[in-house]
C-alpha cells in the first residue's frame, strides 16, 4: 500500500498460517510446531493476531469503552496487523525465516464480514499482503471449542463473544452464535481452496504428526540455522529423517 511496490511473495522465507475459531487448538499446535522446528535448527518465528505492543494500549482503551463499530474494529486490527507485518514479519521472510502465524488476514475476512462489512472492502485493506505457503483451517465444532474455553476457565469478553453484533445479552449464547457464523465463513474459504481443512478434533499428538507431514514439502528448500546465521543461501534441504 506504499507507493513503492514490493512483491512480498518472492521473499525466500516460508509463511505458515493457522486459522480457526477460538478454542480450536491452533495456538497449541503452532506452539508445538515452533518447538519442533527450533529443535531442528530451523530459524523460526511465531506471531499472533492482535499482539502489537504499540497498538495494544489503544485497543485496550477502546474495547473497554465498547466504542468499536465494525469499521473501527476492522481498521484497528488492520493497524495491529500492519505494524507486525512491516516490523516483525516481512524482514524475517526476506531473510529466510519460517514464520508461523497464529491467524492471518483470513481472520479479518471472516470476523469482519460476520460483523456486516463488505468482504471486498476488507480484502482491499489487506490487498498486497504476502500469501501463505500453507494456510490451515483448524476445524472444530463450536461445542468442542466452548468446552475447551470453559475448561480453561476463561471469561469471555464483549467483542470476543460478538455481543456488539449479536444483540444477545447472554455472553456464552452470543459466543456460540458468533463462532458458528465464523465457522461457516471459514468452511466457505476451505471449500474455495483458500484454506486447507484440518480436523482439529484429533488428539494433539495425532495433529502434530499430520501437521509435520504437511509442513515438510513447504520447508524443503529452507536452510538450517547453523549455516543460516553465517549467511548461507537458501538452498539446503532442511528437514531430514523421521517426522
Amino acid at each position: 500500500m506504499t507507493m513503492t511496490v514490493h512483491d512480498h511473495n518472492s521473499y525466500q522465507g516460508r509463511l505458515i498460517v493457522a486459522e480457526g475459531t477460538d478454542g480450536s487448538g491452533k495456538s497449541t499446535a503452532i506452539s508445538l510446531l515452533e518447538s519442533w522446528l527450533a529443535a531442528q535448527g530451523v530459524p523460526v518465528y511465531r506471531t499472533a493476531w492482535n499482539s502489537s505492543s504499540f497498538i495494544k494500549p489503544i485497543m485496550r482503551h477502546v474495547k473497554k469503552k465498547e466504542w468499536l463499530s465494525p469499521a473501527a474494529f476492522s481498521l484497528l486490527h488492520a493497524s495491529d496487523f500492519y505494524d507486525r507485518y512491516h516490523r516483525l514479519i516481512l524482514p524475517r521472510l526476506e531473510a529466510g525465516y519460517v514464520v508461523l502465524a497464529d491467524r492471518w488476514v483470513y481472520t479479518a475476512w471472516v470476523r469482519d464480514s460476520v460483523r456486516g462489512l463488505d468482504l471486498s472492502w476488507i480484502q482491499s485493506l489487506y490487498q498486497d499482503v504476502r500469501e501463505p505457503d500453507l494456510a490451515i483451517y483448524f476445524s472444530a465444532p463450536p461445542d468442542i471449542a466452548i468446552s475447551r474455553l470453559q475448561h480453561a476457565a476463561r471469561e469471555l469478553k464483549y467483542y470476543e463473544s460478538g455481543q456488539d453484533v449479536s444483540g444477545l445479552h447472554d455472553r456464552w449464547a452470543s459466543f456460540l452464535w458468533f463462532q458458528e457464523k465464523m465457522r461457516q465463513a471459514y468452511l466457505a474459504l476451505a471449500d474455495q481452496g483458500v484454506l486447507q481443512l484440518f480436523d482439529a478434533t484429533l488428539s494433539i499428538t495425532e495433529q502434530q504428526k499430520i501437521l509435520r507431514q504437511w509442513l515438510q514439502p513447504v520447508l524443503e528448500a529452507q536452510t538450517a540455522s547453523s549455516s543460516f546465521f553465517q549467511g548461507a543461501p537458501i538452498s539446503k534441504t532442511l528437514l531430514k529423517g523421521d517426522l
Binding site: 500500500m1 506504499t2 507507493m3 502489537s52 473501527a72 481498521l75 493497524s79 482491499s124
Partner: protein, 227 residues
C-alpha cells in the same frame, strides 16, 4: 427525510440513510487555523440559536494522547499509524457525528477525513488504499478551508508549539523547508477536492465579518431542511 447519508465507499452499511442536520468539514493545511475557525463558526451559530457541535478526529483526550505517543514512535510505520487515525475517526463518525446529525445538529468536523486522507497520501501511502480505509466516512455537505500559504501555516504552528511536527515534513524533519514542502504536497492533494466538493475558503479566520457571512450561508442551508 433530510439529507442522504453519503459515504466514501458506496452504500456503507449504516443503519440510517438520512439525517436532519448539516455536516460541515473544516479542512486545510496543518497550522492553517482550522480549530480557530471551527470554534468561531460554532460560537456564532449557537448565538443565533442553531444547534451545533464541534468534533475532532479523536473520540477522547486519552485516545488523542495515545495517538500522539504512537505517532512519534519512529518504529511505527505509516500504514499502521494511518489505520489508527482511521479507526479513531470511524469511532467519531459512528458514535458522535452520525447521532448528532440525525438529531438535527450542525456538526462541524475540526479536521475531517479529507485532511487525514491528504496527510496519509503525502506521507507516501497509496491514494486508492487510503480511500479504502476511509470508506465509512461521510461526504460533507460543505467543506470550509482556512486559506493559508505554507509559510503562514508554519508561523501559526510555531506560535503554538515548541517545534514543527516531524511527521508533517518532507526529508528534513522539524526544518522549515521540510514542513513547507510537505504542506505544498497537501495543497496539491486538496486541489481536486476543491473542484469536486461544495467548498468555501475563508481568507482570514480572525475576520469576524467574513466568518459571519459564511455562518449566514450555513443558516440558510439549515432552513432548507428543518429538523
Amino acid at each position: 427525510m433530510g439529507r442522504p447519508v453519503r459515504t466514501l465507499a458506496p452504500q456503507w452499511p449504516y443503519a440510517e440513510t438520512y439525517y436532519a442536520g448539516i455536516y460541515i468539514a473544516v479542512d486545510g493545511l496543518d497550522g492553517s487555523g482550522r480549530t480557530t475557525l471551527a470554534n468561531e463558526i460554532h460560537r456564532q451559530l449557537q448565538s443565533h440559536g442553531y444547534p451545533s457541535v464541534v468534533t475532532g478526529p479523536f473520540p477522547s483526550k486519552k485516545s488523542q494522547s495515545q495517538n500522539t505517543l504512537n505517532k512519534h514512535d519512529r518504529r511505527v510505520g505509516p500504514a499502521s499509524r494511518h489505520l489508527v487515525y482511521a479507526s479513531f475517526f470511524a469511532i467519531v463518525t459512528q458514535q458522535m457525528i452520525l447521532p448528532q446529525l440525525r438529531a438535527g445538529y450542525i456538526v462541524i468536523s475540526d479536521r475531517s477525513w479529507i485532511s487525514l486522507h491528504a496527510r496519509a497520501v503525502a506521507q507516501g501511502l497509496s491514494d486508492s488504499w487510503v480511500d479504502t480505509t476511509m470508506g465509512f466516512a461521510l461526504k460533507p455537505d460543505l467543506v470550509i478551508e482556512p486559506a493559508a500559504t505554507p509559510l503562514a501555516a508554519a508561523r501559526r504552528k510555531l506560535s503554538g508549539a515548541d517545534a514543527l511536527d516531524p511527521l508533517e515534513s518532507v526529508d528534513m524533519p522539524e526544518h522549515l523547508a521540510g514542513f513547507l514542502a510537505f504542506q505544498e504536497r497537501i495543497n496539491s492533494l486538496l486541489q481536486p477536492r476543491r473542484l469536486q466538493m461544495p467548498w468555501r475558503t475563508v481568507q482570514n479566520v480572525s475576520d469576524f465579518q467574513e466568518v459571519a457571512e459564511l455562518v449566514h450561508v450555513i443558516e440558510s442551508e439549515s432552513e432548507g431542511f428543518p429538523s
